[in-house]
Amino acid sequence: MAEKLKEKENRPGWIASINPWVLKIKNNPERVAFVLHRITGLLMALIIMAHIYVTGTPARVGWDAWAEEIAKAHGITAVTLYFFFFAGIAWYHGLNGIRLLLVEFFGVCIGKPEKPKPPYLAPSLKACQRKLLYLVFILWAILWAATGYILFAS
């Protein structure tokens, strides 16, 4: 008698776009970049709502409340730390966003199709988008550090 056989659905789901190590693929920093872009994007969407709410203080509540808030923006406080993380997230999302615009919107920086030969490395993985990716990480570190300096120096 034939038994009832059930196939197993094997899609990891949304976790694959949050955790770059669902698969351990070699030579693929683009995947890490994608995951970071998504996480920073989600965080940004949340923070922007808070940011618009808070910057509405002068009109909503009044200038006194605003001045009280700003008084907390000296040195290392909850306010400056919030700005520090906000800036870090925004820098990455923006820098990598420029790279993605070039690659996805303009379709450049992904190399030219070529004749396959060993070690069979796809042209887009050695094209200038890869160099841009490293540049994004370097600039991110520099700009974030500079932001920290400006925020915490006073």
């Binding site: 949304w14 698969l23 070699k26 683009e30 919107f105 379709g107 490395l121 887009s124």
Partner: protein, 305 residues
Amino acid sequence: MMSFDPKAATRTPPKVVTFRIKRYDPTTGKEWWQDYKVETYRGMTVLDALLKIKEEIDHTIVLRYSCRMGVCGSCGMIINGMPRLACQTQIAEVATEANPIVTVEPLKNHPVIRDLLTDFTTFFEKHKKVKPYTIRKDIEEREKGDFEYEMTPEEHYNIYEYTLCISCGLCYSACPVVASTDRFLGPQALAYMWRYVADPRDEAWKERLELIDTDEGPFSCHYAASCSAVCPKMVDPAAAIQRLRSALLKYRLGMYKKERIAQKKVVEVKPNPKPLPPEAQPVPGADPWKKNEEPVNIPVDELIA
């Protein structure tokens, strides 16, 4: 680090390697990991080892394979966390003396039928959806066959890369978008679509671009480029999707037009084909029967240069 190491076949893997295989029993729905110890030899591939396990240790393991030489695309599986062709993966490439363990799982994103065997039905349906064949307006002209469509070598190399796809499904399995939405056509189908949009012999580029301008199409891609990193044939689906998306956006903004549609060129059919050239003879001095005593020295560096 490269995804394919051409020198791996020249190294000797650890003497005994443990294969940790993910099993699945469709009658009970049970899943478990099972270990098998295999004695290896130089040049042994993961597929060789799996077949050895099936022959000598456990006959119940189920997997799919056919050509054993990276041509048919049946033996895709996740080896040490990365989608690979089992027949093209040297054990020496994935197991080290320090860590002689190789994990083998069925491909992700494809439903599992049993053990390492996955169901490609959806994958091929999506492949079919992009109409993977040349479309000409004049249907009858294709029936005649006394002509060819003109194409320059440059035009050929623009699409040649994409024609090498063996439909192994590794890219589809690596894609983080397919992982969460089943509707995305996936890297393989979209790379195929671009291959026909860019092919000068195809006339239906407008219809094709309209066809994929949906949530299933290239706009769902976020350029994680995992597809290009795992493709065993250097097809570079990630780049193909970006080209497709860029073309589609330009088309929507009224700025894209296919460069050239190839025209017919009548050719005379030669009655007597030429005989084989002298290069097509066996390599002198190589004795395949002696290869175990004195391994053939493969000039890998020369071949890569």
